[in-house]
Symmetry: C2
Subunit: 348 residues, 2 copies
C-alpha cells in the first residue's frame, strides 16, 4: 500500500528517515505491504521540491550528502519553484506530513502553524518536535480527533525508543500513577563521566561537546529545559495533565560537584538528572532535578547517553524501558514508527 | 462493544484476570468501549459453568475465594451439567477463548488440543501457557492465520510486561538480531539473595520456596527448563526460528557457588541466568546459562524476582524492557492485554 509523505525540515531527523526508507524499502514492502512515496520536501536552508510521482530517495540522499540544495534534484542549475512549508502542505497531496523542523520551546513556532495547517488540510501529522507537543498538545490532539486524523509524537521523548506506542498497546488498560525517567542523554553522559572517569563538570561537558552530545551553548540540556519539555509532554499525554513548562520545578546539573557525586557513590548511590511526574489532587505535579538514586533503582544502571523511563502502573507495578534517547537513525526511526502505525490503521 | 470470553482453567491466572475485569469494568468501558462478558468457565478441579447471558464476576470471585466449586454459581447444592473444555468450546459461542491451564512443556497437552479446537471453531485464542507456544507455535499461528483469527501469547514470556506487542507496534520495522534476557524470576531471586544477603544456594532456595517464588520441586526453574521454554518461544516468534527445547544449550544455576558469585562481584561483575538467542547461518542459536555480566549491561541491575529482555535491533540498537515476570495480577493482565488488542482489531 502506497503512502504519500511530505517532509517539512530535512536536517538530521529527515535525513535519518530518508536513509532508513532507502535502506529498508524491500523489507518494509515485503513485511508490511508498506510503500512510502516521498512527494515533497521543504527545508528552510536547503530549499524545496515537489514531485507528485515520488522523489527518488537515493538521488536525494546523494544531493544531501554532498551538501547541495534539494532543488538541484532535477539537475545542477535547474531551479524549481521555491515552496514555503504552508504552500507545500496545500499543494503536495500527501497523506502524512512529517514535521521535522527545529524545536522552539518558548513559542512552538513555526512548527505549530505547520501542524495546524496540515490537520486542517486533512493530513495526518507525525513530529519529533518538542515545541508543539509541550505547548499545544491538547489543542492539536483535539483538532486531529475532530478530523479523524492522527497526531503522532513518538520521537519527542526518547527518540525511537517506544514510549507512547508502548502505553497505547502493550500497557493498555493500566492507569499510570507516575512516570520517572532519565530523558536527557547529554546530562546523563556528563554525570557518568564525572563519576566513572573522575572528570570535573567542565571536562565532562567539553568531552560531550566534542562528541556532538552537547551543543556549543549547553544551557537547554544542563539546566534541565530539555527534560522539562519532555516531562510536560509525558504529563499532558499520559497523565491527563494540562501543564506548561513553567509549572515544572526545575534544577539542572551545573551545581553538582565531583565531590558530591563521588561521595554519593561511596554511600552506594548515584546522581541522575530525573524527570518525574505524578498524578496529584490538583492534576499533575512535575519536576526535573538531580536525585541520588539507590543502586536498586532500574534507572541507576543507565549510563552514558542512554535514556530510560519507569512507569508506575496500577496493574503491572513498575515497568522500565531503556534505549537510545537521540541519534540520526534512532530519531529518524521514531518518525517511521509513527508512520507505520498510521499505515496499520489505514490498512484496516 | 461487548466481547464474549470463555476461560479454560481458572487457577491463579484466571482468577487474576477475573479480578481485574471486576475491579476495572467502568474504566475499561469508558476508556476503550470494552465490555467483557465471561460466558463460560471450565476448570479441571473446580468444575464448569456456561452462562450465555454472562457470568456475574463478583459472585464468581466470591465462590472462588471461599474455595467453592464453580458450578455452585446457581446456589449451593444445585449442580450444572459438567462440561469438559472441548464441549465447552463447542457450546459457549464465545469470541475469545482464554486458555489458562497448566503448562506441560514435554507434550503441550491438553492445552494444544483446546487451542486447536477453538481455532477450528472460529474463536480467537489468548494463552499464557508456554507448552503450546514452545512446541507448536508455527502450526497454531498458521491455523489462526488461515481462519483470520488471533493467536496471542503475550503472557508466555515475562507475564504482562510487553514483549510481543512491543515488537509488533513500538519496534515495528526493526529487524531483531538478538534477544538476551533474564526470563526466570525464581533463579534471579536466588542469585540476588546469594550475592546481596550472603546466603548459600540452599538457603536462598528455601527462602524462595517460603515466599512462593519457587515450587516444592524447583527443577524447572533452577535447571533452566522454564527459561528454555521462553527462549524457544522468542526464537520462533521473533527471530523466525523453528527450534525445539532440545535444541537449546542449557545450564542451570545449581552448580554456582556463593564463592564464585562473591568473587565475580569483587571483580565488578554479576552472575545472571541469561537466556539468549541470535540469528545464525543455520537459523537460530539459543542458549540458557549463567553468565558473568559487566555492570554496564542493563540486565545487571535487574534484581529479585524481576525479569528483563534486551533486543538488539538493526535501527534502534539495544532496547531493554524490565518488569514483572510473574504474579497473579501481572499474568492476569497479560491476558487482558491480548484481549484488548483483539478488541482494537474488532472495532476497526
Amino acid at each position: 500500500m502506497e503512502i504519500k509523505i511530505a517532509l517539512i525540515g530535512c536536517g538530521t531527523v529527515g535525513t535519518g528517515l530518508l536513509e532508513i526508507l532507502e535502506a529498508k524499502s524491500e523489507y518494509l514492502k515485503n513485511k508490511f505491504d508498506f510503500e512510502p512515496k516521498v512527494v515533497a520536501i521543504s527545508d528552510l536552508h536547503k530549499g524545496s521540491i515537489l514531485v507528485p510521482d515520488g522523489i527518488d530517495i537515493g538521488t536525494m540522499l546523494a544531493l544531501l550528502k554532498e551538501g547541495k540544495r534539494i532543488d538541484q534534484y532535477y539537475g545542477e542549475g535547474k531551479t524549481a519553484e521555491l515552496l514555503n512549508p504552508l504552500d507545500m502542505i496545500e499543494k503536495c497531496e500527501a497523506q502524512i506530513i512529517a514535521e521535522l523542523t527545529y524545536t522552539d520551546i518558548k513559542t512552538g513556532e513555526p512548527a505549530t502553524g505547520y501542524i495546524k495547517k496540515a490537520l486542517r488540510t486533512g493530513m495526518h501529522v507525525v513530529t519529533s518536535n518538542k515545541g508543539p507537543a509541550a505547548l499545544y498538545y491538547h489543542e492539536l490532539r483535539k483538532m486531529a480527533d475532530q478530523n479523524g486524523l492522527c497526531f503522532c509524537i513518538e520521537g519527542t521523548v526518547m527518540s525511537g525508543t517506544p514510549v507512547f506506542s508502548l502505553v497505547e498497546s502493550g500497557l493498555a488498560g493500566n492507569e499510570i500513577r507516575e512516570v520517572k525517567g532519565i530523558l536527557n542523554g547529554t546530562t546523563n553522559f556528563i554525570l557518568s563521566k564525572m563519576e566513572q572517569d573522575n572528570m570535573d563538570y567542565r571536562e565532562a561537558l567539553e568531552l560531550a561537546q566534542k562528541l556532538g552530545y552537547a551543543e556549543a551553548d549547553p544551557t537547554a540540556d544542563v539546566e534541565g529545559y530539555d527534560a522539562v519539555a519532555k516531562i510536560v509532554i509525558l504529563s499532558n499525554v499520559l497523565l491527563g495533565g494540562n501543564i506548561a513548562p513553567d509549572d515544572v520545578r526545575r534544577q539542572g546539573i551545573t551545581g553538582l560537584t565531583r565531590e558530591q557525586i563521588l561521595a554519593a557513590r561511596d554511600q552506594g548511590f548515584r546522581y541522575k538528572l530525573i524527570a518525574q511526574a505524578k498524578k496529584s489532587a490538583g492534576g499533575v505535579e512535575a519536576a526535573v532535578s538531580p536525585q541520588k538514586l539507590p543502586l536498586s533503582d532500574p534507572l541507576t544502571g543507565v549510563m552514558g547517553a542512554q535514556n530510560a523511563l519507569t512507569f508506575d502502573l496500577d496493574l503491572m507495578g513498575k515497568v522500565t524501558i531503556q534505549g537510545a534517547g537521540a541519534g540520526k537513525v534512532e530519531t529518524g526511526y521514531s518518525i517511521l514508527s509513527d508512520i507505520l502505525a498510521i499505515h496499520r490503521q489505514m490498512k484496516k
